[in-house]
């Protein structure tokens, strides 16, 4: 055995004995993961959203391009794909592209139920399953808290019957945080999805601490504010400290800020380009900023 291999093996064995998060014992280029609090299952830090980017209808050229985006995602160790019936044809395109890739080990299929009628929920979920081509979803979320009581009953029953692994709720754009907080306190949910990025940080005050306290996984949406934050950042050179956290581009900086929050489980940037996917996925490896660095990142970004 080579010396390096031996040391790696010894270090790995030691780490396995210690109760520290896998995140901290990651080798320099190992894909970083965080545990889902409710189960301990590890989830890659960078997932993929599908709002707008996968809503391309039956355009064969665009579908082929999205299949390549998905191939790059899984090749880089991607896990969660998040969609919704609200996103037009996105679920159908996700299903079509997943089928083209054949096996997709590591897929964590997450979608939403989006109907104002609780009675319509099961039919909509069944349609989503058909479009995705999955036997069951890993995660079903109530979209924007729409008819959340009725849908939570449905999802809870599905989970109890083994037809669903996790259930959750979503908000976006910082809306209805008060109501979400009440539900997080009163109901048993595995995930919440909310808007959190280097600028939109309201969730830090109450929701993220509550999620940590209640053992709820957090998905951060709108990591770039639909490209707005990247538009601002990319007019400026990368700060010197970016190299300290292993970043070679602004997308990595913005994503690492999000996923380095202790209560955030993963972020779900959306893209229609392979090059951007590779940039996003690069945020899922290497060192993460500590709290002091996070404060500096936020302050420097605010000063741009």
């Amino acid at each position: 055995m080579h010396r390096r291999s031996f040391l790696t093996a010894v270090a790995g064995a030691c780490c396995g004995l210690l109760p520290i998060p896998r995140l901290l014992r990651a080798a320099p280029r190992e894909r970083l993961t965080k545990p889902i609090p409710g189960s301990g299952e590890q989830l890659p830090l960078i997932g993929m959203g599908t709002w707008i980017t996968f809503n391309v209808g039956n355009d064969p050229q665009a579908i082929s391009e999205r299949a390549e985006v998905l191939r790059a995602f899984f090749a880089a160790g991607g896990g969660m794909i998040d969609s919704s019936p609200m996103y037009g044809s996105a679920e159908a395109v996700v299903g079509e592209t997943l089928a083209r890739l054949g096996g997709t080990p590591g897929l964590f299929a997450a979608t939403k139920v989006w109907t104002g009628s609780g009675a319509d929920g099961p039919r909509e979920i069944a349609e989503s399953q058909r479009l995705w081509g999955v036997e069951r979803f890993d995660l079903l979320q109530v979209h924007n808290l729409l008819a959340w009581r009725e849908h939570l009953d449905t999802l809870t029953a599905m989970k109890a019957a083994g037809r669903l692994r996790y259930l959750g709720l979503t908000t976006s754009h910082g809306r209805r945080h008060g109501e979400l907080e009440q539900i997080m306190r009163s109901e048993h949910v595995d995930f919440v999805q909310l808007t959190y990025n280097i600028v939109d940080r309201e969730a830090e005050d109450r929701l993220l601490p509550l999620a940590a306290e209640r053992g709820i996984a957090v998905i951060a949406n709108r990591p770039f504010r639909r490209g707005e934050l990247l538009g601002v950042a990319q007019r400026h050179p990368l700060p010197g400290w970016a190299a300290d956290i292993g970043c070679t581009g602004w997308p990595q900086v913005l994503l690492k800020f999000i996923v380095s929050h202790p209560a955030v489980t993963c972020a779900i940037p959306a893209t229609s380009q392979v090059a951007h996917m590779l940039e996003n996925m690069a945020a899922g490896v290497g060192p993460l900023p500590d709290s002091a660095m996070r404060r500096r990142m936020a302050a420097d970004f605010a000063a741009l």
């Binding site: 709002w51 707008i52 980017t53 809503n55 391309v56 209808g57 039956n58 355009d59 050229q61 665009a62 609200m86 996103y87 037009g88 044809s89 996105a90 159908a92 754009h173 910082g174 809306r175 209805r176 639909r226 229609s272």
Partner: protein, 224 residues
């Protein structure tokens, strides 16, 4: 209500500009040669209205009504709705407008009690028709859109709505009042859609609708 104010225009649109423009390319290819037929119908409508006797205006309105019904089904329902749920409502509105035009023009009322083009608004109306049939598609060329994805009278909503406003300039006041609701609403909807997509043509339809309404309201009562 306050929550609605936190949304931006783009938050309501689940697709980007590239997909929207490509939509017309795929639509034109799928229903080929509908674009050619639509364009030919547009030229026919212009010929009919060049010397606008009541029967010719009525016939032109029936043709345009058919275009509204076609767009309701082929464009909004079959093509756009799978990408944008709001298009289902647009399909309903276009269908209602088409049926209303058929009824008004073909059965219930006479299209117009006065159909000459001597007044200023009808003259402007004919100009709008010419613009919709011949020039609106060319605007796409100026913006480097692929020619396969150009929007043509008869098959695409915007030029058809624009032409309809022109046609309505030749109609009687009460007919205009009934039939202006959906076209002007679409002008606003389309303008907001294109604005959200950062399309430079976004002011075209809302401006046309505003000018059209302003001209109509300035028109002396006896001309109505």
């Amino acid at each position: 209500m306050a929550e609605w104010l936190t949304y931006s225009l783009a938050d309501f649109l689940p697709l980007d500009r590239a997909t929207y423009l490509r939509l017309f390319q795929l639509y034109n290819a799928r229903f080929w040669p509908a674009t050619v037929i639509g364009f030919a119908l547009g030229v026919w409508v212009l010929w009919l209205l060049y010397r606008p006797a009541p029967d010719r205006v009525r016939l032109a309105s029936l043709v345009v009504a058919g275009c509204w019904l076609w767009i309701a089904w082929a464009f909004h329902w079959e093509t756009y709705a799978p990408l944008n749920w709001a298009a289902r409502y647009a399909a309903g509105a276009f269908c209602a407008q088409g049926l209303l035009m058929l009824l008004v023009a073909g059965a219930v009322f006479r299209w117009s009690g006065r159909v000459d083009r001597s007044g200023a608004p009808p003259h402007i109306g004919y100009g709008m028709l010419v613009f919709a049939v011949f020039l609106m598609p060319l605007l796409g060329v100026l913006l480097d859109r692929p020619w396969q994805g150009l929007e043509w009278f008869g098959t695409a909503p915007d030029p058809t709505v624009f032409a309809t406003l022109g046609l309505l300039s030749m109609a009687a006041r009460r007919v205009r009042l009934i039939l202006m609701v959906v076209p002007t609403a679409w002008c606003l909807f389309s303008g907001l859609t294109l604005l959200a997509l950062d399309d430079p043509l976004w002011p075209l339809l809302p401006t046309a609708a505003i000018v059209w309404i302003a001209v109509w309201f300035r028109q002396p009562a006896e001309q109505n």
